[in-house]
């Protein structure tokens, strides 16, 4: 199945905030992570999170937590270790996040907050292709792909992580739902099409490939994912009640 053999994208922004993928090198300054869109220079105008100490601590802790998840998986996440990596006092981390699941839930909240805004290409087909390309780049990014796999694995055995993950996808899907709704309004898709189901149908084959057979989806797979969801939607498969 050559069409499913993966190439790893780099140098492109992913699903979660701006970032430069690249191989994860722990502790290296200048690498970009969720929770810290660019090297953090407090107070400098134009940075996304100029905030005070509280915001800086959160950014550092979430970055460290993401590093551990991407490099070692959920089973190795430990609050004391995260505090050490983040160069933040252990008691601060325990007081603010309380537990590993609390920390992962906050990381997923942060990822949801930074979820890329929808693309507007003028057609639902173009928008769905942009969405598929974005999901693919995220899953192909070494750090973010590993992070998603770790969190999804953790969600299979931890209820709070599962809830946080579900909220993340709800936010992400609702961000892209207007693409489909506007496509329906423009007459490109049948009236009654369930927009959220269409958005999820675009992501499904890309996640399926990564999670079940461990193959990073390539650009061809992203195009097929978008075109497949579009063709099914045009055929009325996602019309509610049918």
């Amino acid at each position: 199945m050559s069409a499913e053999s993966g190439t790893v994208g780099r140098g492109e922004p992913g699903l979660v905030g701006p970032g430069e993928p690249g191989t994860v090198r722990p502790g290296e300054p200048g690498t970009v992570h969720p929770g810290e869109p660019g090297t953090l220079r407090p107070g400098e105008p134009g940075t996304v999170r100029p905030g005070g100490r509280t915001a800086r601590v959160r950014a550092a802790v979430l970055r460290a937590a993401g590093d551990v998840l991407a490099e070692e998986g959920f089973a190795h996440l430990d609050l004391a270790d995260v505090a050490r990596r983040a160069e933040v006092g252990k008691t601060t981390v325990y007081r603010r996040w309380g537990s590993v699941t609390g920390l992962v839930a906050d990381l997923l909240s942060d990822m949801a907050e930074q979820s890329s805004p929808r693309t507007e290409t003028g057609s639902v087909r173009g928008d769905l292709r942009a969405n598929a390309a974005l999901v693919r780049r995220t899953l192909a990014d070494p750090r973010q792909g590993a992070l998603f796999r770790a969190v999804i694995a953790a969600a299979t055995c931890d209820v709070r992580t599962a809830e946080a993950l579900r909220r993340f996808y709800d936010v992400r899907v609702s961000e892209w739902v207007p693409c489909v709704e506007e496509g329906v309004a423009r007459g490109e898709l049948p009236v009654g099409t369930d927009a959220a189901v269409v958005v999820r149908a675009v992501s499904a084959p890309l996640y399926y490939s990564l999670l079940t057979v461990g193959v990073v989806p390539d650009e061809g797979a992203a195009v097929r994912a978008a075109e497949g969801a579009f063709a099914a939607a045009v055929a009325g498969v996602y019309v509610v009640g049918e």
Copy 2:
């Protein structure tokens, strides 16, 4: 998203061999598991695995391993515990399977061997719907759904489990590929359609729902999965080279 709220199917056979799902009650005689299609009565004509002691030991050990995975997840799988549950000598288990990953690999081999044969309804659309219904019932089955989630989670952090899981899906997909090939031969789908991609497209939304948002797909989701893959295939989305 009412269409994605899950009901848990019961009393129906799943993807992996014949079985009666039901709530998992460890150690209860008469529950049916992968590796043991029916209560095992050695030598009795008509049983699928009449084999000798070696086959009985394998069946008991794989059943116990599946129980642990379904109930407690991969992290709690321990060879000594499996041996105790299976009422098999610990040295036998260590000698034959060597490690936890070796045991999971053999469990997945056994699941692949017992993968349900394809359905023949006379149309590719009917066959894809049967396939979707089968996948959905498997994921909705309390024991098998939990087993798949545990193995998929384990595959994210263990290379040997990932390889075994990939082989399992290769076997399963190749079992169903002829449905699509015959549909192409009958003129129901375009010449050049990549059959394996169509089969994977049927499974993708069902696994995606379970793994990312933790929602067990319902019967409506299975119909949409099959109809979506069929509509996309008819539109030529899965034609190789396009």
